[in-house]
Amino acid sequence: MSCEEPTTSPTPENNITVVSSDGKEFLLDLKLTEQSETLARLISNFEYDRTDVKKDPVPLGNITSAQMQKIIEWLQHHRYYPKWEQNDIHYSTSFTFETWVEEYLNIPNNEMFELLNAANYLNIPRLFSTICRIMASRITGKSAEQIRTVLNIKTDVKNDVYTGIPIQEDSSSSEDGMSEISLSPSPPPI
């Protein structure tokens, strides 16, 4: 799937500034933010689309500058695509992605993980759904033992027969310290 890009360029009034968790500012065309339900809601709630409203930077405390850069790349590529329609979230026998998407997501698992968290937080359905499918495909055709290795899941919890204390870990050490990201970012200062 591809779309022709019109030759219009964004005017300064059409931009908002977002700040990543590491303090880097990004100028974002309002048109791009339409793909992110979180940003679109934020902009609508705080009237960022009005030219007479003072536009302070929008803090994105859960997104690093590296993630934001990658996200912007996605938003720019899909700028003129029709609105994403989720037809069937469940497994379909075949799915293919355009070459650009395959190259864009040809990244290690840890980067894919961070990008998926960012897409989930910013609520970018096309990116979110695409990453979910690609992640699912990374364990396609694997045995339970191979999946255990790919996901780094250790053996089940077994309690000591005398003390009842767990003697084995159920999950990978890489899971430690992880928690769900809040879906409601702090409102920007007006």
């Binding site: 026998t93 979910c132 992640m135 055709g141 694997k142």
Partner: protein, 150 residues
């Protein structure tokens, strides 16, 4: 993904993406994931996947068949009721396949044939078997019946 790629931290993801990824998987991959650990089993179970029916087929080899609208997972057990002393051994090997496709072999230390059956029933929210088809009688039909007549 290359060999040196870091682990895919599926279980560390928030609930929404985790569920979406599992929903995107094929049935046999979901089933394989459910065998990895108790947590992964609960995760697959929480997706609320529905199957048409779960059957047992007794022929030269006994198998559990999990039927979906488009395909069937078959778990077959070479070692069930092969030994008089221990007709239903723990750590029994199961060949898990989807239709005529390859699949994989798996065994869990605490699983006998009964636990494999319960795993399938629990995973797909089925309270009982739909059908038991017997083509070749087993040496101990009485104990076999106990596995599903509770």
């Amino acid at each position: 993904m290359s060999d040196g790629d870091p682990p895919l931290r599926l279980l560390s993801l928030p609930n929404t993406p985790r569920r979406n990824i599992i929903q995107c998987m094929e049935h046999i991959d979901q089933f394989a994931l459910s065998l990895v650990s108790n947590r992964s089993k609960e995760l697959v179970k929480s997706i609320d996947i529905k199957c048409h029916a779960i059957n047992i087929k007794v022929n030269i080899i006994i198998s559990i068949r999990i039927q979906f609208p488009r395909d069937t997972i078959e778990c077959s057990f070479d070692d069930y009721q092969r030994s008089v002393d221990n007709p239903s051994p723990t750590n029994i090997k199961s060949k898990v396949s989807l239709g005529n496709e390859g699949g994989f072999v798996h065994n869990k230390p605490e699983y006998r044939f009964e636990e494999w059956l319960n795993h399938a029933l629990e995973l797909y929210h089925q309270s009982e078997l739909d059908r038991v088809s017997i083509f070749t009688p087993l040496p101990d039909m009485k104990s076999f019946r106990k596995t599903f007549n509770k």
